[in-house]
């Protein structure tokens, strides 16, 4: 996440950030185990795989069976949030796949189950970013009082949009961020009449809005997956906007991560690193 012009150097003999990230991607906590951080590794593994296991039990491992037959390609699972927890997903596909030829009824707890498996995947991606940071920092001097850990701030930003900014003391930015993405999501839900809040209706768009975190899951639970007799007029627009809201939250998470990283390492932010005499940011030539 550091500036490409001035990358954070890894100290000699430190853990390889790429290896730590890939290990975490396959098995939550494995990257920290590789770095010798046993406690973080165990907590991460138990929390994320516990979340995934609970989701599999509640959904009876049927999240891929939601997909209509024409969408069941070889890489159908690659665009799901569960792909963030790759090892578990590969085991899942091997164990359950797309189900039997004869379709079986979905359990009543399917939707809660898929929320949990998706959450485990996204949480593991955030853990990957934490493992990458921890491996890069290694023996470098940090200033923990300057900002919360980038991984923690990012996780909070996913749980509550704008929450990471709050944690960093950027309260106005956090409030504006929350208002913008949640309002866009709410408008999407209104236009789609709540049909976007159902993974069985919009499998991949649902993945986009899952990036908004528990806000989307709470809205889905409150909406309750009612049967619809007709398609809402603006369903398409609503589904897209709610998914865009989730993806915009990723930009906010990157902002949170970069801010914490720069502050803890005492380095300039990406936009500060550019010579202000020439340009104060990648896109703001108007401020020359």
């Amino acid at each position: 996440m550091s500036s490409s012009q001035d990358p954070t150097p890894s100290p000699q003999g430190a853990s390889n950030p790429l290896v730590a990230t890939l290990l975490t991607w396959f098995v939550p906590g494995a990257g920290h185990l590789y770095m010798g951080k046993m406690r973080t590794a165990i907590i991460a593994f138990v929390a994320i795989e516990g979340l995934y296991l609970a989701g599999v039990m509640l959904s009876k491992g049927m999240f891929l069976q939601i997909l209509p037959p024409e969408m069941r390609g070889r890489f159908a699972a690659a665009l799901t949030p569960e792909a963030g927890n790759l090892g578990a997903l590969l085991l899942h596909v091997r164990q359950y796949g797309f189900g039997d030829i004869v379709p079986t009824a979905f359990p009543s707890t399917l939707h809660i189950g898929v929320m949990l498996t998706a959450s485990a995947g996204i949480a593991n991606l955030i853990l990957c970013s934490r493992a990458h940071y921890d491996a890069r920092v290694g023996g470098l001097k940090e200033e923990p009082s300057a900002a919360p850990h980038p991984g923690l701030a990012t996780l909070v930003g996913w749980i509550i949009p704008g929450g990471g900014h709050f944690l960093q003391g950027r309260k106005v930015r956090g409030a504006v961020a929350f208002a913008l993405v949640v309002l866009l999501f709410a408008v999407g839900c209104y236009l789609a009449d709540g049909t976007n809040l159902d993974r069985s209706r919009h499998f991949y768009y649902w993945a986009g809005q899952a990036l908004l975190g528990p806000v989307a899951f709470i809205a889905e639970t409150l909406n309750g997956h009612p049967l619809m007799s007709a398609r809402p007029t603006y369903e398409d627009a609503g589904v897209v906007l709610s998914s865009v809201a989730g993806m915009l939250n990723v930009l906010l998470l990157l902002d949170v991560y970069g801010f914490s990283e720069a502050r803890r390492l005492g380095r300039p932010l990406a936009t500060e690193a550019v010579d202000p005499e020439l340009e104060s940011g990648p896109f703001d030539a108007s401020l020359r």
Binding site: V176, L184, L251, G281
Partner: protein, 66 residues
């Protein structure tokens, strides 16, 4: 006409959110981000409007079914 107004309002709102979040992403300083916003918003709206116009002309010219 109401439908057109609704679509334009929806377009202006969704682009507002997209540009505002992108300003936050590219500029860590709040005041700079606020100063950047109007120009970027205007640019985004104008450029996307041109794209829409081109698409409508292309649709009307090449894909219209009489």
């Amino acid at each position: 006409m109401n439908d057109l107004a609704f679509h334009i309002g929806l377009f202006l709102f969704s682009t507002l959110v997209i540009v505002a979040v992108s300003c936050m992403f590219t500029e860590a300083d709040d005041q700079k981000a606020v100063r950047l916003f109007p120009r970027r918003y205007l640019t985004f709206v104008v450029v996307t409007s041109v794209v829409v116009a081109v698409m409508l002309v292309a649709e009307h010219t090449f894909a219209a079914v009489s």
